[in-house]
Subunit: 367 residues, 4 copies
């Protein structure tokens, strides 16, 4: 089977590099188009990232030779895509919110589906915020979006903020078992790669932590309500619960966001910690059932040791696509508490985006 | 005025060194007796700590020449103290809980007051757990203790766990203003010096955090109930509130424990964040009123910047004896949330112990 | 082809774990015997390393079920090996030098070849110190060793200290091209994993470096002379050059030793930096020619960027078995200078040991 | 005695803040004028540094209220200075080399002495590069400079690069004793504060080192030749020795540059390591003899422990103005080797600049 050619917007940045690297051996997709800022445009990809490539794993020889295009030049992209150059784009744009929003819409309007990591469209009502295991049915918003916008083939689908990823699947697993979360207080310890490069200055991260990440707490509190929302009578409605209060901290870790979660259930409560562990161990979603190439075999891994999960030791579990949880115990104030971890630039960014693309391909949106 | 000669038990360890260093220029107390494990006994202090001294500030020439005694040899201490050697001891013992408990009792029984950093006696009902600003009246437990034990001059007083120190004074300030906390969910990011030396292996603290500190969460949840307890009709009763649920994490920071606190009030609530900031800014305790030498001028410092407090920049505020708070804002689930910071080996250990000694001296217990 | 069953001495330690992990999928060897301290003996391997497993990659299900033996019980090992249990052992013992030396000799005397990571036998004259690309012919010392000791099948072969590995292959490549090093001044920045676990305290590695590693400089200065030695008329002679002066430092890096090398040639000098880069790029040894499974395809990788090699980005190059070099430039005092990097627990420890085993198998010493 | 009013150019940057902080309690100088980029001009100093102040120690209330001026506006400065506003300026400018050079000359031409931290004028032949203990007589270049430039009261004097500071005084001490260095190979491990703020990204400094600092090696090799130069017959001549080869590395340390030095003497060699230690212990310069307020009591502190100096433990020795040395031992290739440490933003930057100002005041150049 011929691979589907894809493009990357923001290909030279932190998340763009992660996309390139993860797609090296992808069985369905193949990078053929790379766009970035005008500064990089016209250079070969290998020259554009020389001295700025941050990953251990490198890009392929072929990708290194791709000429980087100007991401703002949508007509150029449209032309390239018409000639069979590409089927859709992953957006890892790092520009301002307004510019990103407008540019992603231009791509979609030009007939190019946009699977985005940017936060610009997360609160656009007709744009789905997808976690492939949790709300694969939210792809049903796409036809509504296309219709409303008058778009033919193009559309926009996004992934949520990286800092909530480690506890959305566990919450979903519990909700499916009948245990819905009503209130959550969460404190995160987030990796510096979440801020891109150059990102967080080392003077702030040696013998130090920073108890603030601009905009992160608001996103953490709002986005789950959209992810847990539902389509009723052709209208999308956000969920009302769980109420979340987030403390977001930056810590000296390269990759891997950790969350300390205290949770109160709405009604029925699990009978024991063991019941919860079993629910998590048994959890599977569409990506597992349909065996998507990037899907982790086991989306939630529970570790029984007292002192896990730890970012350096657990972030790469199952191709860095699994969530690792530990320390499940009764909460002294709410019902339960636990610590969860997710790789922020893989599962929380490029890997999550690719999994979404696999979901959208499976559902026929990328033909 | 001649200085009061004092002794240090566990003088060569992490907290012992901090005591030695902080007492270098103390106007009331002077180190004359240093005891440690049999391994160090018989050596000059400077030789006993050679290659193991961890602080930037050093010990005095005189302390360097003190011959270290065996901390287990209580009769030796008693003899030394009778000869005018010392008035009381600071205990920074790092042995097992049972041994510490027994040994501290032996010193007290031998007529030597013990002001301790160890956790061994925190739940002994007739031993006060003191934070000098918060519960100075708990020294009234001491006569009860002496009577029950049949001790004459000796007694035991302890300080609480370092990880709760950053929010006990803020809670106390609010309670004094009529706003009592009912429920608290707190997540800490604690410095490695809290585990002593060698303590936490560097392999666990490079590009990593550890979401667990043995026993710390239990201490954090129980000790405040004793500190907020009261003596009624000659009987000490623990408080019933606040209910606390703690997540304690170890992070790559040398000194300074940070806490992310979400708090629900029991009844009356402050009218605004500004009212709370004013309560904190105005907060004073007996140490400030009586102008104890080690007391911070302002026990609670609030910083308005978004991204403070930070351990490296704020831990040394007011001789590392102040609590620094920031990010006060409404909680999405409870009433308010904030981030607080306290220097764990100064305010949370040796400095706190010295302030307790100043309180006890002021109240006449060290004559 | 059936795999050769092998044993690991010190299987639960840092390097032992690395052996277990690297042998997970090895095409020639298979772990069947695991021995450690009496404390671990009798436990299943998975239980013996519970809470102490430091690597991202884990052990196989089968290895987890192996019952750990007491490494001191050589007769037990001998019996197990006779029954077809094992062919040889990798020694990752972490006991004292004298005990290690004696114990490794007992294994060899019992007919079990010992391929060791320990430093105990590096200066035993009839024990070869092997780097598979550099001195594969030093295996010729083994028959001399067997004869002198009266050993039949057993023997001892060791690998050198990890801190010199990053520049031994580059020196060898230059020497083969006729450019021999006369004097070297080298300064290393070494990873904490080199000290095992718990190893270096985090209090020494946060906002700090330690300019000393016990015994490391002496090893760095002496071992190259043995590696570059030769057998003449049946007698092994150490080399007299290069004279090396080493400064060994510990830095806050998990894995990967970096060396800053200034080098003076003995006679003939390369005509240009480009000539040297070509020599390094073309360098191949027996492991590459015979295509050993653990051999890096390209033993020396040169990076042209100004700011490489960097431990986190380059240590895993070619399965963490390659040396990565950068910053080659004329030295203001000697002839040339450069910076080189090698993964200390893979290439410098377990991976290097496995490559030596592949060499010894290839030469027929493990039949 | 009334304090001398001084100005700071680049007052809001990293080094500028250090100047402000160190001059808080200075007995001779008082900050009255603060200039920075146009972005900060017109703001109160406290507003200009809000959220950007990096030091534990803060600025005085009075400095906080100073209105920041545009550093490019020399005529404004000249007017302010004429009105008795200021006597001279410390330049901590962080603009490009050419702009800095031109701007500093404009200040000097306007009658304002410039004591600079910038590297712009270090190779201007008639500008002295001063280390107050090492070459205080190089102030004799100033009259030559004034004459050549036609300047009346203004002049420019600079301090050298921070990375060489830890070994210049030790070399000078040895030279004074008759032991001159001929060749030096040095490898540094430099703190991130040397790169300013935001400076080095944390992604490059977590579990990593960077073996390159742009321009640093060239400065390290050339500047000592100017510092050890001499005025002969009214003409300044650089020294020809020592030949230096430097490897400069960036490591995850906030403050404190460490250097591993191997040194070959030109002729006569010290008889023993003890002789060298005595020379260093006895070393005094004009700052000590004339008791300058910022001078360390003992400019070179030797520590006998194996594992010192260490940045976090030793950088603050003697107000962070002393050099701390350890590990003196024979070099296997040259004559001796040792490790030395100096605080890069105090002794190596603002503290060194203030000490130079004290020297220039003492010599009458600031009247």
């Amino acid at each position: 089977m011929a691979k589907i050619p894809v493009g990357i917007l923001g290909a030279t940045g932190m998340v763009g590099q992660q996309y390139i690297s993860l797609l090296n051996d992808h069985p369905w997709f193949e990078v053929r188009y790379a766009a970035a800022s005008p500064r990089s445009a016209g250079k070969k990809y290998k020259d554009a990232v020389a001295g700025r490539w941050h990953l251990t794993k490198t890009y392929t020889y072929e990708v290194g030779l791709i000429t980087v295009e100007d991401a703002n030049d949508v007509s150029n992209a449209a032309a390239a895509f018409k000639n069979g150059g590409c089927s859709f784009v992953f957006s890892a744009l790092e520009m301002g919110k307004e510019e990103t929003r407008a540019l992603e819409e231009q791509y979609a309007a030009a007939g190019i589906p946009v699977i985005s990591n940017a936060s610009a469209h997360r609160w656009t009502p007709d744009v789905p915020v997808l976690i492939a295991e949790v709300n694969p049915d939210h792809t049903d918003i796409i036809p509504m979006q296309k219709k409303a916008r008058g778009w033919d083939r193009g559309f926009i689908a996004v992934k949520p903020n990286c800092s909530i990823q480690s506890y959305m699947k566990p919450l979903h697993a519990l909700a499916q078992a009948g245990y819905t979360a009503q209130r959550i207080i969460v404190s995160t310890m987030q990796a510096v790669s979440g801020a891109g490069y150059p990102g967080v200055p080392s003077l702030d991260m040696i013998d130090n932590i920073v108890p603030f990440i601009g905009g992160e707490e608001e996103k953490s509190e709002k986005e789950p309500l959209k992810i847990f929302g539902s389509i009723e009578n052709g209208i999308f409605k956000n969920a009302e619960f769980p109420k979340i209060s987030a403390h977001c901290n930056r810590v000296p870790v390269t990759d891997g966001h950790t969350a300390c979660v205290s949770l109160e259930f709405a009604g029925k409560k699990p009978s024991s910690m063991d019941e919860i562990k079993k629910i998590w161990a048994d959890y599977k979603g569409l990506p597992q059932e349909a065996d998507f190439p990037t899907a982790p075999k086991q989306p939630i891994i529970y570790r029984d040791e007292d002192n896990r999960p730890q970012p350096r030791k657990d972030r790469d579990a199952d191709k860095a696509m699994a969530v690792v949880i530990g320390r499940l115990r009764p909460c002294n104030v709410f019902d339960i508490r636990f610590t969860s971890l997710s790789h922020n630039t893989v599962r929380g960014a490029a890997g999550g985006g690719i999994l979404n693309a696999e979901l959208l391909k499976y559902k026929g949106y990328l033909n």
